[in-house]
Point group: D2
């Protein structure tokens, strides 16, 4: 948790085309827990082992993609301070009232240089993970319902101005750079991909340079083990969920992963593994030539759909 | 072990183009144990947990592919009986003298309807798995050398006359049909792929209908677990071994697998899992339409290189 | 599958004290599938991935223990031949009529020198594993219900005359000796434990020398992986199933295992792993001094309850 | 990483009785990397995937146990601030000069209410994990040398005044309480065990109430998976390392673990798993009656040696 008080990715609002199909997909196939619906037609989900009310909000729309991503911060004082710091950095912020999102307090919202709507909030109702807080078992029946990821882990966002994002996240929000991907040598090797952490996870958010602003590459959900990643892949096969790549391992972050698409064409990831990078570490660099193994370490292939398809 | 006394796949002789590169690959990268060299330039290997002298023989050549595959049988009497039975079936056999292959007894050799040279033998020197036979530990240092498969498991061979092969293996050699793949409906759904077992493994040998005789699709090596399959994939990435498909799971046999190519372009497999089919079971059928999930259960894709490349 | 035509452990009838509690335990906690009840109050179960009607029969009784164990053989001709061979060996046999056990054909029954009732049969109705026989997925919802073992694997029986049992199984029934445990040096190192296989499993049945005849050490159920063994242990914890030993690994057979007791005090095992010994292999020996690591390879302890408690 | 700037457990100095035996144990059996020796006879080690120079220092002595544990903090300013805060809390501190420990900067040292010597430091030379920082593979040969833990994870310390420790760690050092164990109801249920985190690990340090001050229950080393925990157990068996408990799973923190003793009788742990508790979470409570499952979730037993043996 960053020294600034930013804790973790808290929630993402995802645009879906067919709400009923999407509910079935996220609840029964991915295996999230539905926790609410609001009067704007949005449906709220959490992963079984998360404690907060919701981490994924589905919003019916004509186009797929991500509406906004929100990170939880330590408390209201932290929220106020970060709001001041973001404004001082030159980015306008607005406050979204408590309750605008069910069970969630005020959100400080601003638009990243990459075009994405980003939020910070301090309050979200705790609903628990279904296990008692006294003498609990290590898991519940929910752990086998669908793919049953344990948490919403991060998202990878595509948009312009990756370097400006990096400045904001590192200097203002207190993230640290864990891994980065360089562009082609002939273009002077700019950083075209950055993996940022506010914790000792390999990334809490990531950005890749892309012409169009505000695009989603994937929302990522954490699985406990590589064996559970395979089980997720089996469930995708059983339900004809179209897979992009995997099972495989990324060189980048060492994650053991499968990427696939939800019914609206939004890409999601189910992954396990990684390592534990702290803020005092040195970032890992992937060159343009080395990146095929960064994407798919065993195969060393640049899978085209993975590189190009976004919502 | 088939009631006829056929025990298991015993050895395969593989043609390789660059002997030194191949030795380095099979010994250090795949992680087999070198057990001998003969005066015909052949190099002999076994998997670390196998007891017999060798299961893979590399033979230097101008063209890649498989020279022959041999199965071990219970004893000399069994060998004699099977020789009689194969001849009675209408297939000519010859005897290859003991010692022609290092540390191996006489081999009864014949050509399958698919064009492949097939052998049966009763004797091969036991060299052990490096562990004591009294109070042994469960593994040795060899278990971490390279990918370190535990045994040569089976091969999949491409050639014509799959049905004639099936007759021979089922009626004469005592195998049972575990799974089968049907051809296109419009072609009348012939059986174009068969997975045969002389044990309770999902297959000890498999054939796919193909115009050219005597072709090798892959030699398969067994890994203990899905985690070790990933480790094998990592080692392939580290050594730039070109991967065909995987990691993934087959619907056919449920195997958890990676396929890749050796330096000569011969395909090999490192796999785990499966199930235990006995001779009293009923075969599983994959239709032409269902086969994409049979090949890659999560992805449900017909990977073209997997379907077409053989040596 | 032994050259004699003996295929695998087929069924075991277990005496239970409280039928309702036992049904709940075997169906909901261990996670077997109930397949029938007969007019003698017996309840029939199979493991989810087994094809035959039943592999465990619970029989209400005043005392726990095993009534009989039955192995499936290839066909009626095999059954007849084995009946002749057992009689020729000097052991009286009787035929139990078809239907005496639900969905099961005639059984040839005889009493082993160790006092145990042993049966062979050729017919049992196939009910399938719940998956289609065309284009099946690799598992079903049943695979997560309770501990969900994939098959009834073997039992370990305690009784006198282990050497006489060994003669019968090796010479008449066609099993091979995979591992053996020696007694104390001062007693002349008799073989006090034997692990016998009619397949390439590490054991299909095992015997340990014991004064009282006809005792059950444990019934064993196979789990797909070490991770699923831990999950079974978690389920035992959740349900307060008393564990004897484990999770751990045996040196003997390398099995990764937990032993625990059912509500009647019958011991059962949930295990994964092992290796693939063929009839042409050489048995592994555990000396009396080495046996602590044979029992519990990491800990090297002779757990007293494991050694002494039987039903 | 706590908002105060405390990052992680950095190093522990352990007293060992036979230095040569201990070096062999920690280097070859546990599988740490030796990184230095100093003129006071101390030997320095790191886990293969750690970046800093050392995390375990062996100090030859007449008695086993722990000399001190040090945590890394963000920078020198953080070190100064924490020094002030600890003093303001009423605990005297001293500065140990840079270089007193090889490759380590100044340490702020103080004695905890439990009697343990505790340190904070900001600088330690980075030696890397043996992998390149550009296009790295996911692991190296070091990952298979011995048990090869990936990091020094935490220690559990026994001593009096657990509540005073809790105040210091929570109010001054910025840790959060993740799990706690209550004492007997008849004694008024005091908190006798506390698991504290300065990150989203289940614990970075833990304390249990005990009469004698300054005692070590165990040093803990992290393994990547449950399969690697079994491998560690196998290595313990091969090397006759005496195991205390395991393999098993704790209810407390859900960790999948084995505990054993080094040649001096210091207990160490090799574990995997857990979950990700953030500072905004609510602690889990284990009652005195519930603690058997907290210790060993499957078995639900209070293993006596685990409870009582300390150095």
């Amino acid at each position: 948790m960053a020294m600034t008080g930013v804790l973790r990715p808290g929630h993402a609002q995802l645009r879906v085309l067919d709400l009923e199909k999407s509910i079935t997909f996220y609840r029964d196939i991915l295996g999230l827990v539905e926790t609410g619906r609001d009067d704007r037609g949005r449906v709220y989900f959490k992963c079984w082992d998360e404690r907060d009310h919701s981490s994924l909000i589905l919003s019916p729309s004509d186009s797929a993609g991500i509406d906004f991503i929100g990170f939880k911060v330590l408390d209201a004082a932290t929220l106020d301070q970060l709001e001041r710091d973001v404004r001082a950095f030159g980015i306008a912020t607005e406050r979204v009232p408590a309750g605008d999102l069910l069970e969630t307090g005020e959100r400080v919202r601003f638009r990243l240089p990459s075009g994405h709507l980003f939020e910070l909030y301090a309050e979200k109702t705790k609903v628990g993970n279904g296990l008692p807080s006294v003498n609990p078992p290590p898991w519940s029946m929910d752990a086998d319902r669908g793919m049953a990821p344990i948490r919403f882990d991060h998202c990878l966002l595509y948009g312009p101005n990756v370097q400006a994002n990096k400045d904001l996240f590192l200097k203002v929000l207190g993230f640290h750079l864990v891994e980065r991907i360089l562009g082609p040598t002939e273009a002077g090797e700019p950083e075209i991909g950055i993996f940022l952490s506010c914790s000792h996870k390999t990334h809490d958010i990531a950005f890749v340079e892309y012409e169009e602003p505000g695009k989603l590459h994937h929302l990522s959900f954490r699985m406990p083990t590589w064996e559970r990643v395979l089980r997720a892949g089996d469930i995708m096969g059983m339900n004809r969920v179209p897979i992009d790549i995997g099972p495989t391992r990324h060189g980048v972050t060492r994650g053991e992963t499968i990427y696939a698409w939800d019914p609206s064409g939004n890409r999601f990831e189910t992954f396990a593994g990684g390592y534990e990078p702290y803020p005092d570490g040195d970032p890992i660099t992937w060159t343009f030539e080395g990146f095929p193994h960064g994407l798919d370490y065993p195969q060393g292939k640049l899978h085209e759909s993975f590189m190009t398809v976004v919502t």
